[in-house]
Amino acid sequence: MARDLSVYVHLPFCLRKCHYCDFNSRPAAESERARYLAALKLEIQRRAELLGASHIRTIFLGGGTPTIYHGEELAGLLEMLKDTAASPPPAPRMPETGGSAGVRTTNGMGRGGTSRFAGPSPVPPSGRELDRAAPPTAAPRTEVTCEANPETVDVAKLRVLREAGFNRLSVGAQSFDDDELRMLGRGHSAEQTALAVAAAREAGFTNLSLDLIYALPGQTLNSWRQTLLRALELQPDHLSAYGLEICEGTPFHARLQAGEIAPVEEAEHLAMRQVTRELCEAAGLDRYEISNYARPGFECAHNITYWRNEEYLGLGAGAWSYLDGVRSGNMREPREYRAAIEAGESPEEYAEELAPEDALAEALMMGLRMTEGLLLHDLAQAYGAESIEALLQRARPLVEMALVEVGAGRIRLTEAGEELHSEVVMRLT
């Protein structure tokens, strides 16, 4: 049996750094971007055995701004990834890639993911199927997402992507208020976002997501409502809405320190979340994770891999993998990463084999982000009945406080509990 695997590819470059951004992202010269891409392809080759032996469920190109690259470059990258995954494993299956029970104990949550999903992810028919070389079972099509910034795409480019096999586009809209976009340091207008969405539709993207940020300094409930309404007018299939987190090292943080901006009050923030939920649901987008909304069937299968604590392979600078109970991360600096790859060395700079209690903590932390919560039966199988007994003991006061619900074989957070996710997880672990 091929193992299910999600693949994340990090493209850490952008045109310019946004004022709130603390991601692994930076502007770079075109030559540097090209060398990085070449290094990335080398890393894919190195992972040929794993990729060939796996059933690739999802691929996600994230950044940075992946669409800073030419359509053909991204198409070529995907092509290579597909070809590598399609090649049968070059050598007899090594035990550690064969899913032997002994080494996979900490990753028990990863099995049989899609069957627990609210509904199978019906990726619209498109392009070539990645799974053609996989065992002839009725494997679902692979979800292939590319992140895009409005100012870096047009119909032609998006067509190239679509034809190459990308079937999901995640557009970084962030706001539909031009003043707010300027404050955020974005390189596009609200109008450009609308044009990018139209172009994506025209290019054949039938699974389209918008990213929004709210709780901006100075933002009112009403201006957020306006942004949301304009976003929903564009009829996205999926929407992610994140409260702004002001991180150290960002220009926003400096301005916060200088007293020039103030974070939005808690009550206001909560009201914004409330209005998000209401408007999205009215538009047919159901919340399925703390910050994510989708038309039924359009939930992001790739991200669900993370939240269900299932296996994934990360490629590129700063990309993380979770394989065989080990979390590992590549060097963050693109140049360092590239240099390591070019020198034939491992780009990995961190690896941790999770102890069972840490694996359970992570499974809870991630799984409780999802509205559906976690199946107790699965938890008990993966971590032992006793630790789940203990978990339920710890859950009791939280159930009394109406932050956690236990029932129908599941543990999940209530709406109030989700707002206190960190607090609740601390008490449950």
Partner: protein, 614 residues
């Protein structure tokens, strides 16, 4: 270790006649360079190769705080310009007002005192106090101005202050630099020439005064003694004159600073005795050691049992650590005769100990050592003094814990301890000192223009105010220029009352304080606000109230936490996020649960830090 030291430095064990013995100490204000100068003396006399980092201060904690808690005694052999060999016993003295009694015993062991003044700081209040103590002990005083290597500082001011304060003439004053070694030779010569030799009877029955003692796990207590009469050697049976307890002497010797055994200590000598003594409580500072048989009739004068002045509750954050805390206190007290502790139970905090200390510094040191050396997480309740209460039925009680204050209707009179404080500061800060003192119920006694622009202000102040924040307030009001020195001056009746704090309607005994009725309401309000700041938001509303008797004087609430979520969390965030939560959880674990409210350790002390709001 002793034998090695002996082998290395044979000349130190050489005996000299009593007339070539000089016993002296160095008195100085904190940071005036005492330890550095002492190390330099050791170096010059060949006791150590090179002055290290303040050899005489042994505990890390002391080093960090730049103060000496315990005194030590080191023997130096000095070949003077007259060609004679002299045995110099340098007795180090503690430098903080909490340890005034220990200072007085160290002085008693000497015939001379080197009074050290920092050239740029001049004479400080504490120095003056210690010089008076030295004069009372009839010591020959050698004034020294130290740190003369400091650039751009002229010694004129310090010289003038030495003259104004004590009448020392410039020609008597030795100028030194502990750092560069300048003047150290002159100082040694002055000690030899000016400090008188002991003149004591070695054939009388033994009388040796303990001026310090230290517990060592291998040999029990090491008692630092000054032998005034008779002699003592290993094998002798000795008797502690305060308790009558008897011990067999196992070692006698001196520090070089390593331990060096000698076959006997005799009248005039300073050195150590070990005798299988299990804890410093059996070897009290100031006590007299005599021989068990045909011992002296009378002890040496001046013995006083260390009297704790400040009390607080110490509780483990985790109740399971109670035994570990008890064990740690038992072990600490082996080396700290002044530390008192008794079991105590608090409704809010569980099982713990009521602990008595010489002063706030002593309290902080003990608490820090318990946390650091014994790896305990502790909650310390606000320090309290001992109140004397006469009840309506005529009985009389002493209460050192606000939680145990009798109900108001049963109290006839409350008396609180007061101190006489001597505050020295430059004249321009007199107004501030008066304000700080008046605000803290100080009664002005007198003011003296001692020298230059230096003024000494005398106040009578409640000890409780000193315990709270008087010294901090003085320091900040005078930009650090004021110095404080105080001594207990009895008890006076006062109109005091208990202020209680309630969390979610339940009184928290550990947060109760006693204060003057006049300030009770405002203190209650400030404490409620401080607690609101100190207690993190919980998952439910927390109400905080302050009450006097049954009357609520302040009420505030901490709104429940409603949002604590990382909204964006994907594959790359998992480990980092889990570790962040683990750290936060660890932080919570270090808080004390009162009912179901998590209260951080600092909250219990923060109720005392009221100065700016008052």
């Amino acid at each position: 270790m002793a034998t090695e030291a002996k082998a290395d430095r044979p000349k130190v064990v050489q005996r000299v006649p009593q007339e070539n013995v000089r016993n002296f100490c160095i008195v100085a204000h904190i940071d005036h360079g005492k330890s550095t100068l002492a190390d330099r003396l050791l170096e010059v006399c060949g006791n150590v190769e090179e002055a290290g980092e303040q050899m005489l201060d042994t505990m890390d904690l002391e080093r960090e705080r730049g103060i000496t808690i315990k005194s030590s005694a080191v023997r130096l052999l000095y070949e003077a310009d007259d060609g004679e060999l002299y045995q110099l016993n340098l007795i180090d003295t503690p430098g903080h007002v909490d340890f005034a009694y220990e200072v007085s015993r160290s002085l008693q062991a000497c015939e001379g005192a080197v009074v050290l003044v920092d050239v740029s700081q001049g004479v400080e209040a504490q120095t003056v106090a210690n010089v008076y103590l030295a004069l009372e002990a009839e010591l020959e005083i050698i004034p020294v101005i130290n740190k003369i290597d400091v650039p751009n500082v002229e010694p004129e001011m310090a010289l003038k202050e030495m003259d104004d304060a004590f009448g020392f003439h410039p020609d008597e004053i030795v100028m030194t630099s502990g750092k560069s070694g300048v003047g150290v030779h002159e100082l040694l010569e002055a000690i030899v020439k000016r400090v008188p030799a002991p003149d004591e009877d070695a054939d009388a029955p033994l009388r040796a005064m303990i001026f310090d003692s230290e517990f060592d796990v291998h040999q029990g207590v090491i008692a630092y003694v000054r032998v005034f009469e008779g002699r003592v050697r290993p094998g002798d049976e000795i008797r502690m004159m305060s308790s009558g307890k008897r011990f067999d002497v196992s070692r006698t010797g001196f520090f070089s600073p390593a331990m060096v055994d000698v076959e006997e200590l005799r009248a005039g000598d300073v050195g150590y005795i070990t005798a299988g003594i299990k804890g410093v409580k059996d070897s009290r500072v100031g006590d007299t050691i005599t021989c068990a048989k045909k011992g002296a009739e009378e002890p040496l004068p001046g013995y006083r049992e260390a009297q704790p002045m400040v009390f607080c509750g110490l509780y483990p954050v985790d109740n399971a650590d109670y035994e570990a805390l008890k064990d740690a206190l038992d072990r600490l007290s082996l080396n700290d005769a002044a530390l008192k502790y008794d079991r105590e139970t608090s409704a809010a905090l569980g099982f713990g100990f009521r602990c008595g200390f010489l002063g706030l510094l002593h309290m902080e040191i003990v608490q820090e050592r318990l946390e650091r050396e014994y790896d305990l997480d502790l909650v310390a309740t606000a320090p309290s003094v001992v109140y004397r209460i006469t009840l309506t039925d005529g009985t009389f009680v002493e209460v050192d814990n606000p939680a145990q204050f009798p109900p108001r209707e049963l109290i006839e009179v409350i008396e609180e301890p007061v101190v006489e404080a001597n505050i020295m500061c430059p004249q321009r800060y007199v107004g501030q000192v008066i304000k700080v003192s008046d605000d803290r119920r100080g009664a002005y006694l007198k003011q003296e223009y001692i020298w230059g622009d230096r003024v000494a202000l005398h106040y009578r102040l409640p000890l409780a105010e000193i315990v709270v924040d008087y010294f901090d307030a003085l320091k900040s009001a005078t930009r650090g220029y004021a110095t404080l020195d105080y001594e207990l001056a009895g008890y006076v009746p006062e109109d005091l009352t208990k202020v209680e704090l309630m969390i979610n309607g339940d009184p928290v005994d550990a947060l109760a304080i006693i204060c003057h009725r006049q300030f009770a309401e405002s203190r209650g309000r400030v404490i409620a606000r401080k607690l609101k700041e100190a207690i993190p938001r919980q998952l439910f509303e927390v109400r905080i109230q302050a009450s006097i008797g049954s009357r609520v004087v302040a009420s505030t609430r901490i709104a429940p936490l409603r949002r604590n979520v990382t909204e964006k969390c994907y594959g790359g965030d998992v480990t980092r996020k889990r570790k962040l939560l683990e750290r936060q959880k660890e932080g919570k674990r270090r808080m004390k649960a009162i009912g179901n409210v998590q209260v951080p350790q600092e909250a219990f002390m923060s109720i005392l830090r009221l100065n700016e709001e008052d």
